[in-house]
């Protein structure tokens, strides 16, 4: 536990020095700015989407950026010969990502609540965002382990977005039919989206929600298992 605390401290320091936290915060400010530009009526409709983008896409991106730097600079090797457990190292990265996402979601939620009269159920929003950020940080982690550089990371991320995220966004904007909905649930992005919506909507569909959350949890576990196996190998370029 002492180690995890130290690693978290180091990880946050690193994320700050590499401007990764700042970029994340900048993007959050951007959503808030868009909300003000859209005005009271429209903003309420878009808030879940913004929270989703922040918790999901930004988690993948920021996690990926941080890890690619680390890989290029060979610092993981130096970490691997220090007396720290790999699970702690991985945990510190995931927890930092979740923390950054929570901060952003809380900020967007507060702005929506106070300035736009949006109903925000914070006790649901925060755990939901934590889970969504966790699964997406794990996706970002896994993506960096199967790619060699930032370019191929971005390419894979684009594929992920086209396959999973865009349909979700269209769905949120009511651009697709209801039939797709059951199919969409296999997308982590979509399950995330559904979950986030419930934080703003009393009339949530429980079946989908339970299905979605179980799915996200299993997916996180599977991804973290993969990361644990592959992370040291990729660091040493075995």
């Amino acid at each position: 536990m002492r180690n995890l605390g130290l690693l978290l401290k180091g990880e946050v320091q690193r994320l700050l020095k590499y401007n990764i936290v700042q970029v994340g915060f900048g993007v959050t400010m951007l959503w808030v700015l868009v909300m003000f530009l859209l005005g009271r009526e429209e903003a309420g409709f878009f808030v879940p989407l913004f929270v989703f983008m922040d918790a999901a896409l930004m988690s993948v991106l920021l996690m990926g950026a941080g890890l690619i730097y680390e890989k290029q600079e060979n610092t993981v090797k130096s970490m691997l010969v220090a007396p720290v457990g790999l699970p702690h190292v991985i945990a510190s990265k995931l927890i930092s990502a979740v923390y950054v996402a929570l901060q952003s979601a809380l900020f967007i939620g507060l702005v929506a609540f106070f300035f736009f009269d949006v109903t925000v159920r914070f006790h649901i929003l925060l755990p939901v965002v934590a889970l969504v950020a966790l699964v997406h940080a794990a996706i970002g982690f896994a993506l960096t382990l199967v790619t060699d550089d930032f370019t191929s990371f971005i390419a894979l991320l684009a594929v992920y977005m086209i396959v999973f995220t865009f349909p979700s966004i269209f769905y949120a904007l009511d651009l697709t039919g209801e039939i797709l909905e059951m199919l969409l649930i296999i997308s982590p992005a979509h399950a995330s989206m559904l979950w986030i919506e419930t934080a703003f909507d009393e009339a949530a569909r429980t079946v989908l929600l339970v299905l979605g959350s179980v799915y996200l949890l299993i997916l996180s576990a599977a991804l973290i298992w993969f990361v644990g196996r592959k992370y040291p190998e990729s660091a040493i370029r075995e």
Binding site: L6, K9, Q13, K17, T75, K77, S78, L80, V81, E238
Partner: protein
């Protein structure tokens, strides 16, 4: 003498199919500087990565202080220091921040400032590592290896990219580490480093150790026992070689000494590089 590492029949094949280490056996004694000397691609770094537990799928046995290496937990890393062949720093942190970042992870740490001072980085401690030169980064690698005041030091091409002055500093520090009781395993392709530092050296090529000896023994065994005499006659310079075993009866030698203007006389021991070529049948760039 107590052995620190006992390595028997070590083998390793990378996932891409490269057989990097093939049947390597050697022992590292407590308090010695053991060198792995070999050309590029010989398997030195791979061997070091196995001994520092970065590569796990190896064949053969490795014992650290008599116990199977695999049976150690993370506490193993409290006791060893690892210097990598390439820089391993956060470029957007300063030199000092980098060292503090890793020092935190150990239960005991050396004095970072005095280490930085010793390798000549103290003045630059607050500059971003991204602005460091290659030699500065390599010196910081050495500090990284020494951070936890280790008992065993692994150094992979520690003087790589260093000018003679800084290489001197690092070599002095390695010696100092040994005199204070430390054990060193160093990999290099530089004959000079081996001659100067190592108690024993293992020649490695193509993943196999060809010979293990002290640098001196090797020279005596493989070296030519001769004396080289350089003298001047008018404007031209001449060189003659004499066999050390028969020099006492060699009239020509005495004649030169009596009558010629001798410039230098030195033993014609072969360099380690020449021995290397003889032992392994390969050439190497020093």
């Amino acid at each position: 003498m107590k052995s620190v590492f006992d390595i028997e029949d070590l083998g390793f094949t990378y996932r891409k199919g490269v057989r990097a280490v093939d049947g390597v056996s050697f022992t590292v004694q407590k308090g010695e500087i053991f060198g792995l000397l070999g050309p590029s691609g010989a398997g030195k770094s791979t061997t070091q990565k196995i001994l520092t537990r970065l590569l796990h799928r190896f064949e053969g046995t490795v014992r650290f202080e008599g116990r199977d290496l695999r049976s150690y937990g993370n506490e193993f890393y409290e006791r060893i220091g690892v210097g990598f062949e390439l820089p391993v720093h956060f470029s957007k942190l300063t030199g000092k921040e980098n060292m503090e970042f890793f020092a935190r992870l150990y239960s005991k740490t050396a004095d970072i400032d005095s280490l930085l001072q010793r390798v000549g980085l103290f003045e630059d401690r607050d500059r971003l590592v991204g602005e460091y030169s290659k030699g500065m980064k390599m010196r910081l690698n050495f500090v990284r290896a020494m951070l936890n005041d280790p008992e065993v030091l692994f150094l992979d091409e520690a003087t790589n990219g260093l000018d003679p002055k800084n290489a001197r500093i690092i070599k002095d520090l390695i010696r100092e580490f040994q005199s204070s009781g430390g054990t060193v395993l160093l990999s290099t392709h530089l004959m000079g480093d081996v001659e100067e530092l190592c108690d024993r050296v293992g020649f490695i090529t193509d993943g196999r150790i060809r010979e293990i000896a002290s640098p001196r023994d090797l020279k005596l065994r493989h070296g030519r026992r001769e004396l080289v005499v350089e003298y001047r006659e008018g404007k031209t310079q001449h060189t003659e070689r004499f066999n050390l075993d028969t020099i006492g009866e060699d009239e020509r030698f005495f004649e030169l000494v009596r009558n010629k203007d001798i410039e230098t006389m030195h033993s014609g021991e072969t360099t380690l590089e020449e021995i290397f070529i003889k032992v392994t049948g390969e050439t190497v760039d020093a």
